[in-house]
């Protein structure tokens, strides 16, 4: 009887201990999760607050004013770099959409070598940007005599963005049911019609995501561009140079970066939403 009681007490104590451990784990997860979120977003929000502050360079908010934003209209030196950047980003985006679609369609259908190829395609993710920049600079310029400029920037941005674009595409294409293509063929559809009627609409969100990754990553890319830009000035190169110069127009940089952050977040949210919607259906 006593032994039974003792055993029951022991069991209850163990259950309480396990419950305590579980709540500690949950608490830790919450703290780390929120902490990380704050770590990521607080500086961006801080930047936004400083951009409407009287003296952003002091690093302290206060005396809120829209004058720096107004300044963007009087000092328009940022406009040309922006146009260059958007053009390059658009080019990278198109390249990413096409190549991610081709590779992303093919990979899930391969019977052998799929894993090796995937790793090979995704490896550039972990190669430091500066290394890529120097590599392209030496390899293409020294070896082939290619001029540095817009196209070399497009190239390094593309190398940088492609793995991300591919991942975005694979999220959709790896879930694509290839039996639908058999069904379409069975109903008389030619290979082209199968692609156009079945794959294209079902992979569209993956293509859009690939394009958006390409656009955004190119728009904000700096370390690779530094080596291969020559005299071409992209927006990140412009803001970087301005920030380093500590000149009187630095304040504008706060506004410019805040705007870029807002646009980037909006586009990212849109692409994640698009992907999520496709996955649900």
């Amino acid at each position: 009887m006593n032994a039974a009681l003792a055993s029951a007490r022991f069991t209850h104590r163990a259950a309480r201990r396990e419950a305590r451990l579980t709540s500690i784990a949950v608490g830790l997860t919450l703290i780390v999760g929120f902490g990380l979120t704050a770590l990521i977003y607080a500086p961006v929000i801080w930047l936004g607050i400083l951009s409407i502050s009287g003296d952003p360079l002091s690093g302290l908010p206060g005396e809120f004013t829209p004058r720096w934003y107004a300044g963007l209209f009087t000092d328009t030196r940022w406009l040309d770099p922006l146009i260059v950047s958007v053009e390059i980003a658009a080019g990278v985006s198109v390249l990413c959409m096409i190549s991610a679609t081709l590779v992303g369609r093919a990979l899930p259908r391969m019977r052998r070598g799929r894993g090796v190829l995937l790793v090979a395609f995704l490896l550039p993710l972990v190669v430091p940007g500066i290394v890529v920049g120097i590599d392209v600079f030496t390899f293409f310029r020294m070896l082939f005599g290619i001029k540095m400029g817009v196209w070399s920037i497009v190239l390094v941005h593309y190398l940088w963005a492609f793995p991300f674009a591919l991942i975005g595409m694979l999220v959709v294409s790896s879930r694509f049911d290839a039996r639908l293509l058999e069904a379409a063929a069975d109903l008389g559809a030619s290979p082209w019609r199968r692609f156009w009627d079945i794959e294209r609409p079902l992979l569209a969100s993956g293509v859009a995501t690939a394009g958006m990754f390409g656009f955004l990553l190119s728009l904000t890319e700096l370390p690779r561009s530094i080596f291969v830009a020559a005299r071409t000035q992209t927006l990140p190169l412009f803001t970087w140079a301005e920030t380093m110069s500590r000149g009187s127009h630095v304040s504008l940089i706060y506004c410019l970066n805040s705007l870029i952050a807002v646009v980037s977040v909006a586009l990212s949210v849109l692409s994640v939403w698009l992907l999520g919607r496709r996955l649900k259906s």
């Binding site: 069904a183 063929a185 109903l187 259906s281």
Partner: protein
């Protein structure tokens, strides 16, 4: 206007004496596995043929070869309605498939799914719509034209798959385990409905299934496959009562199979010697019966009687009841005899375990075939 007139576009436009399918010498391998081992098959226009077999028997491969999704390693003949299709991809073959998981296009409505086969044939939208609506009416889904696929139940999806395949007027409709994803009750209903549809359209259906019941209730003929071969091809009653091989007998639910040596003929029946006794049965093998050859005798449990009449037409065995299992409509009684365990389906009360009992069957209910062929 009768239903048959209304859907006249679905029936084969020209009645020909050419079979819907002629296949001969089909061989296909997956690696070292022989999925199709010299398969030959001919299906008449308007026939409902079922390819029956366990998984891995090659039945799905055969259907995929007919549909064009699989190119056989060798094919002497593969003709659909008289056209050699050996070099034609699926989109150039006049067949349509109802896939096991339906493979409906998730981004299209019910109507768009059904119209797809017509759209790729460049039919004008108005005509497409009319025919899609007729096809949907045929499968009793008239009100679902504008629905999204994910709003349909499993049974409705299956009907859409049928409508989508039928609307293109295929020379042969291929059915890949079409009832596989349905629940028991719906499956029974659809078996009847699909058979009625096929009769109404006078269309050629080739179905693949592992369900003995589906094969027997729906088909004009059944081809039983095993290890890449067609072991027997015949009417459902022949397959069920006159299995030509040991495998077919077992697959048809003949749990009572006795091995022995063939004796001589005996007034329309043959004799089989086993365990010192003589069994009478009907020769069901493909070839001639030769006295002295090893053979099997097989009998369905529901044809085994407890306390059979004592006359010459009946094989009688004394035994002891070992176990009884209640199955609802009947009770399955396991009787230990000199020939091993014999299972009988008893309609009434089963004799108690351990009691002596005599079981037996009529010679006409017992199938005898050659042993070994593909055991």
């Amino acid at each position: 206007m009768s239903a048959a007139e209304r859907i006249d576009f679905l029936s084969p436009s020209v009645r020909q004496s050419v079979p819907a399918l002629i296949a001969a010498g089909l061989i296909h391998r997956y690696g070292s596995v022989l999925a199709l081992n010299d398969v030959s098959l001919s299906v008449d226009e308007g026939e409902f043929l079922t390819i029956l077999g366990p998984s891995g028997s090659g039945k799905t491969t055969l259907l995929r070869v007919i549909g064009g999704f699989e190119t056989p390693a060798q094919a002497e003949t593969l003709e659909i309605a008289g056209v050699d299709v050996r070099d034609l991809p699926p989109n150039h073959r006049e067949v349509a498939t109802v896939f096991q998981h339906y493979a409906l296009f998730p981004h299209m409505t019910v109507g768009q799914n059904v119209e797809y086969g017509l759209k790729v044939r460049a039919m004008i939208p108005a005509g497409r719509r009319r025919r899609a609506e007729e096809a949907l009416a045929l499968v009793r889904l008239s009100d679902k034209y504008g629905r999204r696929i994910d709003q349909l139940s499993g049974g409705e999806k299956q009907r859409v798959a049928f409508a989508r395949a039928l609307v293109t007027e295929p020379r042969i409709l291929l059915l890949d385990e079409p009832m596989g994803a349905l629940d028991e009750k719906l499956r029974r209903e659809m078996q009847v409905e699909v058979r009625a549809l096929q009769r109404e359209l006078k269309a050629t259906f080739i179905q693949v299934t592992h369900s003995q019941e589906e094969a027997l209730t729906m088909s004009d003929r059944v081809a039983v496959m095993n290890h890449g071969r067609i072991e027997q091809l015949g009417a459902p009653a022949d397959i069920f009562d006159r299995p030509a091989t040991r495998f077919v007998a077992a697959f048809m639910g003949m749990t009572n199979i006795v091995d022995g040596v063939l004796g001589g003929p005996d007034g329309g029946l043959v004799r089989l010697g086993a365990a010192g006794q003589t069994i009478h049965g009907v020769w069901s093998g493909a070839g001639h019966a030769t006295a002295g050859q090893p053979a099997f005798a097989a009998i369905h449990p529901h044809r085994v009687a407890i306390d059979p009449p004592d006359d010459g037409g009946w094989t009688r065995l004394d035994g002891i009841v070992r176990a009884a299992a209640y199955k609802g409509a009947y009770t399955e009684v396991m009787v230990e005899t000199a020939m091993g365990g014999i299972t009988a389906s008893a309609a009434g009360l089963a004799p108690p375990e351990g009691s002596p009992v005599t079981v037996g069957w009529h010679g006409g209910d017992c199938a005898v075939g050659p042993a070994g062929a593909a055991a």
